[in-house]
Symmetry: C2
Subunit: 343 residues, 2 copies
DNA sequence: TTGTATGCGTTATCAT
DNA sequence: ATGATAACGCATACAA
């Protein structure tokens, strides 16, 4: 009682009752006298009793804890997802263990091992840029352990994925630029290992084709690092070379769009008059920029919430992972602001 | 082995050995033959054995898990702190359980209860704006349970706090504005319940006094909500009324600074020519704005890392919470950019 | 209405 | 070099 918490046994000893009686009384079991219940609860309160969730976990082989593996916490989109996850988990009585892979495959692997050791009931994953093998996931999936992937979803048969419609979002953004009269639209692409990169590039291409515009391979610029500096440099080079002559940029993410904005400004180009720009993700700062940056909004919090609901439903066997719908696609929303509106 | 994980007992049965032998072999205890060790490890590998951390926790009364309670995840500064926490925890073999209070006292209280139930080894806390009583902390502190507070640190005797030097940061920012020739500097303050709000306001006042400038109470504008809209509206009102006539704004946070920027732009004022602006926190987007926003950088990741190191040192009894230094103050760094540089 | 015994997975202690 | 037993805190099947 001084050091360790008071346990059921302590209460039992104090009241000259058996541990089982205490356990039952605290949970309002039928066959316990009201008098005993009262006394037990009183004493529990007095002794500052707190049930030991660890002991409970061991007994039930359930920890009421889920794991979350994300590339990094300091990332607006992922932070919104985590917020949604935490929200739903908390409301349904689950804890959230969080680890960041820092975009390292190795840490992703060790994280999932640690989590399994900790008997978590399920895990939510957005895999790292480095991840090119999925054995560490399939291995545990095959054991019947619940995993729900979000945003960055692997092409594993049977895996449950929650994503946004990257293809459609990119299609909408590009179509919007075309409708504003931009004709030579360059796409700043992401890391090639991610499916979202390919989906967004495909949406971009499809929009061009649908509108009878040519698709030039050299109009798709990979930005693997994803920093402002990288895209700023690449766009600057593009603008100073005479080969391409772009009049708009659709970036795979907002950081890339900011780099493009800066490069255009450096080159003396007016936004949106000379050049139109649209980003992807609709980070917080988009509406704080001058001009306000158009972007494709992704429902991050909703994605986290939905993914968690699905995971918990699987854990609680409210749905059957075998027969259920394997992929949930959330809609994006184009936020067309000043950076891309000529009319 | 089909459903649940393989346990030590399963290996024991398979090898016709006792559980204790398996346990020892796996941990390379001295008195076990190399031959047995080899066989055991082989079988463990084959059966895909994973130690049950829950059982270990129960036995050792230690979970190797720490809790983190923050107001919200979707907040650049807090996300950097969490990143630092997670980093250090992971490297020292601890898990991190994360909850957000959503600035609600009630959730803060229930969170800490849940965490204690889960036998976490210690907790890192930044309390909510709503928190006006600290009983829920003192109660567990008095039981000898380790808590380290960061950023928002309570005035509890004996509590261990890791903060930045808000006073000095505000002093530096204000001094910088004065040095740039601004004379009528308004302070956009934060929620009055937070100590950081008072410290920053005091640093602002001290800088004015030191430079022989008057301190007008009506030059300190409280922005309790902390939204762009709020500060934009308040600054607009201020600019249109003839009473104050400010030529600079030092905001308690970057969001407030952005609101001020927008209000100034709306009023046709040039930044930094007519009005100088400095924010606090140096969020990611500061250097993406036009003009680039000056701000006081807070070492969020470092704060998380330091707080975690202290907490783990206490948990592992490497330092004594009684005799140790109770408060660690980290330095801020003024990032003077275009929004406040006239010369 | 209450008590006893057992087991969840692991390891420390005390045998052999 | 290995085994048997007890214990961590709790819940439950079975007894009384």
């Amino acid at each position: 009682m001084k050091l360790g918490q008071a346990t059921i046994k302590d209460i039992a000893r104090e009241l000259n009752l058996s541990a089982s009686t205490i356990s039952r009384a605290l949970k309002d079991y039928p066959g316990i006298s009201d008098e005993t219940k009262r006394k037990v609860k009183e004493m529990a309160e007095k002794m500052n009793y707190r049930p030991n969730a660890i002991a409970l976990s061991l007994r039930k082989s359930r920890s009421f804890t889920i794991g979350v593996i994300i590339p990094e916490v300091v990332h607006f989109f992922f932070s919104t997802v985590v917020s949604g996850i935490e929200e739903v988990a908390q409301s349904r009585g689950y804890n959230v263990i969080l680890v960041q892979s820092n975009e390292k495959l190795e840490r992703e692997i060790s994280s999932i091992e640690t989590m399994l050791s900790n008997q978590i009931d399920g895990v939510l994953v957005s895999y790292s840029k480095e991840t090119n093998t999925f054995e560490h996931f399939t291995r545990v999936l095959d054991q019947g352990f619940p995993i729900v992937f979000f945003d960055r979803a692997p092409q594993i048969p049977g895996a449950i994925n929650v994503m946004v419609d990257d293809y459609q979002g990119a299609f909408d953004a590009t179509t919007h630029l075309i409708s504003q009269g931009y004709k030579n639209i360059v796409h700043l692409a992401g890391p090639p290992s991610l499916k979202i990169t390919r989906d967004r590039a495909n949406g971009y291409k499809a929009a061009l084709e649908k509108n009878g515009l040519p698709v030039h391979p050299d109009h798709i610029i990979p930005c693997p690092l994803g920093t402002v500096e990288e895209s700023q440099k690449l766009v600057s080079e593009l603008l100073s070379s005479s080969a391409v002559n772009p009049d708009a940029f659709f970036a795979c993410n907002d950081i890339g769009a900011v780099g493009a904005m800066m490069a255009c400004r450096d080159a003396g180009l007016k936004i949106p008059l000379d050049v139109g720009i649209v980003g992807f993700s609709d980070w917080q700062f988009c509406s704080m920029l001058e001009p306000k940056l158009s972007s494709v909004a992704q429902p991050g919090t909703l994605m986290g919430a939905k993914a968690t609901e699905i995971l918990l439903d699987i854990i609680e066997k409210k749905i059957d992972p075998e027969t259920m719908e394997k992929s949930l696609v959330l809609e994006t929303k184009l936020m067309d602001r000043d950076s891309s509106k000529r009319f």
